[in-house]
């Protein structure tokens, strides 16, 4: 089976005026995402999560240099022209951003923004786009979608807005949906609803989903397979259950140990020291050091 999304040795560097060039934001990542699966990428916040997602759609700023190969359904996307990329964006590959309240334009009605995506790709009339947009809004669970079509984004709750963003993302039945922290800005009950919606839509439409997140709970809930990233480097890829049961990489083990769910009560959680480098992570001492820290903390208390 050929991969829906495949990265081969992908490197992203941001140009810098400094004499010392910064480390690549993404350094040599190779992975394959199979059609129809929900693939989780676990990545700490603020370490260039969105960079990889934006690289797929060619949305990185001009200061970024991408090397390697990114294939969507077998088609190389690096080096495509702006027009070719545009025909992919929102049609073959859609994206959901972190903050739904910010990813809808405040001056346009929500319905118009869903319809806009439809009209960007299909040569349909305004009326046709509108009725399709209403159908999509119904599908993602906006109550009374027809009458709320003309409402401005601020009249919706955060969860509803994220549903509308999902409706817009799914407007052209994309093969691949990249969700960049889709639930971070939502509270826990709404998170569960939105994840369930993504899962349902995936089952109905056979859409492949790449879920980039720092939230292990989200991963455990819906992902089929997971990749663990640290500082731009891919550490390990495994089936979700396998990863939680038998983490291979020291960082993954440390990450799982630092998860409050299931940790013994009344004990301080183990922490991942900020100064860990990728190289030091790979050394086995790190885990022992981490265990020692934990014991010391326990002894202090």
């Amino acid at each position: 089976m050929s991969a829906m999304l495949s990265f081969t040795d992908v490197q992203v560097r941001f140009a810098s005026d400094d004499a010392v060039q910064p480390a690549p934001a993404v350094g040599g990542v190779s992975l394959d995402v199979q059609p129809g699966e929900i693939f989780g990428i676990v990545w700490e916040s603020g370490s260039g999560k969105s960079t990889l997602a934006n690289a797929v759609l060619g949305l990185l700023p001009a200061s970024a240099a991408v090397q390697g190969s990114i294939r969507v359904a077998g088609r190389e996307v690096i080096g495509l022209s702006e027009n070719e990329l545009r025909s992919i964006r929102g049609k073959e590959v859609s994206m959901i951003f972190q903050d739904a309240s910010a990813s809808l334009d405040p001056v346009w009605s929500v319905g118009d923004q869903v319809a806009e995506t439809i009209r960007a790709h299909a040569g349909v009339s305004g009326r046709e786009a509108k009725s399709r947009a209403i159908a999509l809004m119904n599908e993602v669970g906006i109550p009374d979608a027809a009458s709320r079509y003309g409402d401005a984004p601020h009249r919706f709750s955060g969860g509803m807005r994220q549903r509308i963003v999902i409706a817009a993302a799914l407007a052209n039945s994309p093969q691949l949906l990249i969700a960049d922290e889709p639930t971070t800005a939502l509270d826990v009950t709404i998170q569960a609803q939105v994840l369930q919606l993504i899962d349902t839509l995936r089952r109905q439409n056979g859409t492949t989903v790449v879920l980039i997140t720092h939230d292990l709970g989200v991963v455990a809930q819906i992902c089929d397979r997971v990749a663990v990233m640290y500082g731009g480097t891919l550490l390990e890829v495994a089936a979700t259950a396998e990863l939680f049961a038998r983490p291979q990489h020291p960082y993954t083990r440390a990450l799982l140990a630092a998860n409050p769910a299931g940790a013994p009560r009344g004990r301080r959680l183990p922490v991942i020291p900020a100064q860990w480098s990728v190289e030091s992570l790979c050394a086995a001492e790190v885990l022992r050091a981490s265990a020692a820290t934990t014991e010391r903390v326990d002894a202090d208390e």
Binding site: R86, L104, H121
Partner: protein, 302 residues
């Protein structure tokens, strides 16, 4: 202290003295209301002036250029409420027509300037890099020259007249408005909905026209209404120097120049066009201030 006797309140007052300040209602104007009040007053003034300017040929009791020798420097009377000028022309009629010219020149200049500045600013802010450098540095060259000097240079090249004055004013304000548009575009472009619109397959042009420009326009509208007040003064200044609207067509600035020589004998020739300028500038300033407070939360705070 003279207090009504027998009501026993004197004692009560001392007893409950600390309670007294509580009874005073705390008067605090709602910030939102001050902004709407400014906008309402500004708009009201401008609408009235616009109606006067448009309807000047109907309202004006006399031909503004008709000379009446018997009425040279005639003082204000019922038939000539603002008096008459050096040539015996009716000052009231001339103020109405002058307002027409002055408003037309200043408003059309600012509109033309805005129409050019918005696309330039949005392109510079959205694309950045060499587009920004090209647009911004070119406009900076206009900005380094003082406004009046630049206007006079224009007129020296193109010759005096209201149209040239309008063009000069438009060019002078172009860099200011373009900078405001560029700055607000920079802020708006960073929003996730712009990235989102691109991720949904919108072209640069479409994203700019439908998402960036509408969201970035607010500060430019504020700036344009503030600049309209300055444009009106600049037009009056140019006409005062004889570089703007040419006689015998009345303009407020030109009338100030006419009245200067007879300020002592016939102050009404000077005062009424001056008042017209003040009122019009006040209208634009109120509108601009109101919009500023409504659009800019920090402006609302103080």
């Amino acid at each position: 202290m003279a207090r009504p006797a027998g009501d026993g309140r004197g004692g009560n007052v001392t007893l409950h003295a600390p309670a007294a300040p509580l009874a005073v209602p705390v008067a605090r104007a709602h910030p939102r209301r001050t902004s709407t009040r400014f906008i309402a007053v500004g708009l009201a003034i401008l609408v009235v002036l616009a109606i006067i300017a448009i309807a000047a040929p109907v309202i004006a009791p006399y031909d503004p250029e008709a000379v009446e020798v018997k009425r040279v420097l005639g003082e204000p009377i019922l038939q000539h409420p603002f008096g008459s000028d050096v040539l015996g022309r009716d000052v009231f009629s001339r103020v109405l027509f002058g307002l027409r010219v002055s408003l037309l020149v200043s408003v059309s200049a600012v509109l033309a300037s805005t129409a050019l500045a918005v696309p330039l600013g949005v392109l510079a802010g959205y694309f950045g890099r060499w587009v920004d450098t090209t647009v911004s540095r070119t406009l900076d060259m206009i900005l380094v020259l003082p406004a009046m000097l630049l206007a006079i240079t224009f007129i020296a090249i193109l010759g005096p007249g209201s149209v040239v004055a309008a063009i000069a004013i438009a060019v002078i304000y172009l860099p200011i408005l373009a900078r405001v548009m560029r700055a607000s575009t920079l802020v708006v472009t960073r929003n996730e909905y712009v990235a989102g619109a691109r991720a949904r397959g919108g072209s640069h042009l479409r994203v700019i026209v439908t998402h960036v420009a509408p969201n970035a326009l607010g500060p430019v509208i504020v700036q344009a209404s503030v600049l309209s007040a300055f444009a009106l003064q600049l037009e009056a200044g140019l006409s005062f120097l004889g570089l703007g609207t040419q006689p015998p067509t009345p303009s407020l600035g030109g009338m100030l120049a006419d009245g200067r020589d007879v300020l002592i004998q016939a102050p009404w020739v000077e005062i009424f066009p001056g008042l017209a300028i003040v009122v019009a500038v006040l209208g634009f300033t109120f509108l601009g201030e109101g919009l500023l407070r409504a659009f800019d939360p920090r402006g609302v705070a103080e």
